[in-house]
C-alpha cells in the first residue's frame, strides 16, 4: 500500500514501539507534524527549545532503558540539538534524533533554514543519515533504532528533507536489520574470561570498578552476585552509580576527582582491578601515569576502542557486561578449591578498606550555615532512595553523587561525559513523562537551572510534577571553587548576583515555588513540595562558599586528595 513519507515515519515509529516523542515544530516539519496529529497513540511533548527536546528524550531513555525519540525542524532547530546529541554520545545513551531538512532540490543552496546537520553532527553521533529517497525511509528508521540501542548505545540522527516527507511509495516495514559492516560483539572470549577469573582468585587486593556499561547492559543483578560471591569491594564511576546499590556494605562510593577517600585509596593500592563497562575517563583516573601502580587490570567493555585507550590493560575482554559476568560466575563455581584460599588471602585487604571507610567518611563542616550536602542527605532520607534524580552540572552534581545513595539502576540521570549544564531539568521532564507517578527531582544549581529554565512551561503544559531543588549559592560554584583553590580567590565571572527570584519565576509560569533559608525548614518544606502534584521549584539558599571535597586536583594522582 502506498503511503507518504510522513505516514511512513509515523507507522515506522509505531512499529518500533515508540509511545512518546519530544518535538518542536517548524516549516520543514509540517508534513510530519500533520501526520502525527492523526496519531494520538504517540504522545507528543512540545518543548520550548530544541536542546530541551534532546535532553528530554535522553532522560526518557536513561530512566526507561528504551530508545528516546525527538523531532525538530531544519536549520536552527537542527543546530540547537547539537549539545543534546553530544551529551548522549559521551554517555552512550540510545536516542534517535529526527531533524527535518529543506527540500532535496534546495540542499546546498544556502536555502532559508538550511544547515548541513549531517555534516555538523558526524563526530558526535554514533551514525547519521540523510534520507534522499522516500523509498529508503523505512529501512533507515529501522537501522537508526537498531544502531542506537545495540552494541555500545548512542545517538543516531536522521535528516528528512521536506519533499521526502511528502512523496509516496509502497510501505512495508522491514522485519530485520542486516548491516554487513556493523556486528557488535556481545559474547566475551571464554579463554580471556577464564584467565580473568584465575587472576582475581590469585589476587590479594582486588576491587571491582564499574561504570555506565552495567546500566546499559542491565547487569546490575549479576554484578551484585559477582561482588558478593567474591567479597569484592565495589567502586563506581559517576555513570555507574545505581548499578550497584549505594547502601550495600561492600560499596565504597564513587572514585575519582570527587570520589571517596576509601575508593581512591583502594584503587591506588589494589593488585587486581576488574573494570566493567567503565572507560577510564580522566575524571575517574586522575593522573594516568600514577593510576593503580600495583594493579593488573581486567577490562570488560563492549567497545574495543575503550580498551587500552588511556590505561594499558592486562586482560582485555570485548563483550556485553551481563554476558561476561554470567560467564565469570560459571567459571568461579568451577574453582571452589581456590575460592577458600582466596577469601583467606583478601582478609587483610578488606580490613584495610574498612578502616579507610571509617577514618575518612564523606563529610562536611557543620558550621551553623545551611549546607547543600545536608539538603541532599535529607532528600535521600525523605525519598528513601526511591526517587529518580537528575542533576545539572557542577557542585550540585558532585554533592548528589556523593550524598544521595542510589539503590537501583536508572535512578540517576546526569551528564557525566560532556558535563552539560542545563541537562538536568529537561532530562527530569523526560523521565517524568515515562513515569508519571514517580517522584522525579532535578538537583540543580542557580547557574545551571537558568540554562534551560524555559522548559518550566513544558512541565506546566503537560502536568509533569517535576521537583527542582535549586542549591542556590549565588555562584557558579564549581568554577568558583577552582578559583578559590588555584586562582587566588579571584571570583571572575562566577558571581550569579542577578539571578531571578526563583519562587516568583515559578509562579509566573503557573508552577509552584518555595524558598528554604534555614536548616529547620528543610524537612517540612521538602515534604510539602514532594507531596504536591505540580511542577515545583524549591529555592534553597545554601552556604555560598561551600566546596566539594575530597578533591583530587586536575593532573594529580588519585591518592593526593584534598580533604575537608
Amino acid at each position: 500500500m502506498k503511503k507518504t513519507g510522513s505516514q511512513i515515519f509515523v507507522e515506522s515509529l509505531k512499529m518500533e514501539g515508540v509511545d512518546t516523542i519530544f518535538c518542536y515544530p517548524g516549516g520543514a516539519t509540517l508534513n510530519i507534524t500533520d501526520a502525527l496529529s492523526q496519531s494520538p497513540e504517540i504522545r507528543q511533548i512540545v518543548v520550548r527549545h530544541e536542546q530541551g527536546a534532546v535532553h528530554a528524550s535522553d532522560g526518557y531513555a536513561r530512566a526507561t532503558g528504551k530508545v528516546g525519540v525527538c523531532l525538530v525542524t531544519s536549520g536552527p532547530g537542527a543546530t540547537n540539538t547539537v549539545t543534546g546529541i553530544a551529551t548522549a554520545y559521551m554517555d552512550s545513551i540510545p536516542i534517535v534524533v529526527f531533524t527535518c531538512q529543506v527540500t532535496t532540490m534546495l540542499i546546498g543552496n544556502d536555502a532559508f533554514q538550511e544547515a548541513d546537520i549531517v555534516g555538523i553532527t558526524r563526530p558526535c553521533t554514533k551514525h547519521n543519515y540523510l534520507v534522499k529517497d522516500v523509498k529508503d525511509l523505512a529501512r533507515i528508521i529501522k537501522e537508526a533504532f537498531y544502531i542506537a540501542k545495540s552494541g555500545r548505545p548512542g545517538p543516531v540522527l536522521v535528516d528528512i528533507p521536506k519533499d521526502v516527507s511528502a512523496q509516496s511509495c509502497d510501505f512495508k516495514y522491514p522485519e530485520k536489520v542486516f548491516i554487513r559492516s556493523y556486528q557488535p560483539t556481545y559474547i566475551g572470549h571464554a579463554g580471556q574470561i577464564k584467565r580473568a577469573v584465575k587472576l582475581i582468585l590469585s589476587s590479594k587486593r582486588p576491587i571491582l570498578f564499574t561504570g555506565g556499561g552495567i546500566i546499559s547492559s542491565g547487569a546490575s543483578q549479576e554484578l551484585i552476585k559477582l561482588a558478593e560471591k567474591l567479597s569484592l569491594p565495589v567502586t563506581n564511576t559517576l555513570m555507574g552509580l545505581g548499578g550497584f546499590p549505594g547502601n550495600h556494605r561492600q560499596f565504597l562510593g564513587m572514585l575519582g576527582m570527587h570520589g571517596t577517600y576509601a575508593a581512591n585509596m583502594a584503587i591506588t593500592h589494589s593488585d587486581a582491578i576488574i573494570a566493567i563497562g567503565a572507560r577510564f575517563d580522566d575524571r575517574a583516573t586522575g593522573n594516568t601515569e600514577e593510576f593503580a601502580p600495583h594493579a593488573q587490570i581486567i577490562h570488560v567493555d563492549i567497545d574495543p576502542t575503550s580498551i587500552s585507550k588511556s590505561i594499558k590493560v592486562y586482560i582485555p575482554i570485548v563483550g556485553d557486561s551481563k554476558n561476561v559476568i554470567k560467564k565469570m560466575l560459571e567459571f568461579i563455581d568451577a574453582e571452589k578449591d581456590s575460592l577458600k584460599d582466596y577469601k583467606e588471602g583478601i582478609k587483610d585487604w578488606l580490613g584495610q578498606i574498612e578502616s579507610w571507610k571509617k577514618d575518612y567518611p564523606l563529610t562536611y563542616a557543620k558550621n551553623g550555615k545551611l549546607k547543600p550536602q545536608y539538603v541532599i542527605e535529607r532528600i535521600y532520607a525523605l525519598t528513601k532512595g526511591d526517587a529518580i534524580i537528575s542533576t545539572e552540572v557542577g557542585q550540585n552534581q558532585m554533592w548528589t553523587a556523593q550524598f544521595y545513595k542510589f539503590h537501583k539502576p536508572r535512578t540517576i540521570l546526569t551528564s557525566g561525559g560532556l558535563g552539560t549544564m542545563g541537562y538536568g531539568f529537561p532530562a527530569a521532564i523526560g523521565a517524568q513523562v515515562a513515569f508519571p507517578d514517580r517522584l522525579v527531582i532535578d538537583i540543580a544549581g542557580d547557574g545551571s537551572i537558568q540554562m534551560n529554565i524555559q522548559e518550566l512551561a513544558t512541565a506546566v503544559q503537560f502536568n509533569l510534577p517535576v521537583k527542582v531543588v535549586i542549591l542556590n549559592n549565588g555562584f557558579l560554584g564549581m568554577v568558583r571553587q577552582w578559583q578559590e583553590l588555584f586562582y587566588g580567590k579571584r571570583y571572575t565571572w562566577t558571581h550569579m548576583n542577578y539571578a531571578p527570584d526563583f519562587v516568583k519565576l515559578a509562579q509566573a509560569y503557573n508552577a509552584v515555588g518555595y524558598r528554604i533559608e534555614k536548616e529547620e525548614d528543610v524537612d517540612r518544606i521538602l515534604k510539602e513540595a514532594f507531596a504536591n502534584k505540580r511542577p515545583t521549584f524549591i529555592d534553597v539558599h545554601v552556604d555560598p562558599e561551600e566546596g566539594v571535597y575530597p578533591m583530587v586536583p586536575a593532573g594529580a594522582a588519585l591518592r593526593d586528595m584534598l580533604l575537608v
Binding site: P123, Y182, Q183, I187, H189, A190
Partner: protein, 174 residues
Amino acid sequence: MRHIISVLVENEFGVLSRVAGLFSGRGFNIESLCVAETLDPTISTMTIVTSGNDTIIEQILKQLNKLINVIKVTDFREMDYVSREMVLVKVNAEEKKREEVLRMVEIFRGKIIDVSPKTYTLLITGDEDKIKAFLELLKPIGIKELVRTGPVAIARGEKVIKIREKQSKGGEDG
C-alpha cells in the same frame, strides 16, 4: 612509524568525510589517502598512510572499525605486502637536458607522457624507495611540478582480503 592501512568501506556519499573526520577529530595523521571502487561496486578501498606509535595505531584501527560504514580494516603490519605509488613529474627538458632525462626515464622504467619545447612530463610507478631515488636524481635537472597518488597496497602471494561481513569477534587476545 609510517604505516599502511587498507579500509574497505561502503561506497556511499559521506563515508570519506567520516573517515577523514575521525583522523582530524582525534588528532591522528594522514600522510596520504587513496580511494577507489573495488570489483564490487558497492565497496570502495581506502588506502591510508599514517604514522604513530603502537598505541596510536591500535586506536586508529579500532576507531576505524567502529565506524558503521567500515566493512573491514586491514593492518599491513601483520602481513607481507607489496605497495606501489604513481607520480607525475614535470621537469626541465631544454635542449641539453633532454638526453639525460630520457636516459633516466629508461633506467627507472618510467614513461614520458607529455612533451613541450621546454618540458617533459614523466610518469613513474614504484615503491617508496624507488620513487625517492628517482626524484632525487631529477632534482638537479629541475622539477617544475609534481603530483603523487599516494601508495596503494596489496598482500603478497595468494592471500586475499576477503570482502565479507565484519565478523562478531570472540574477543581480544592479551
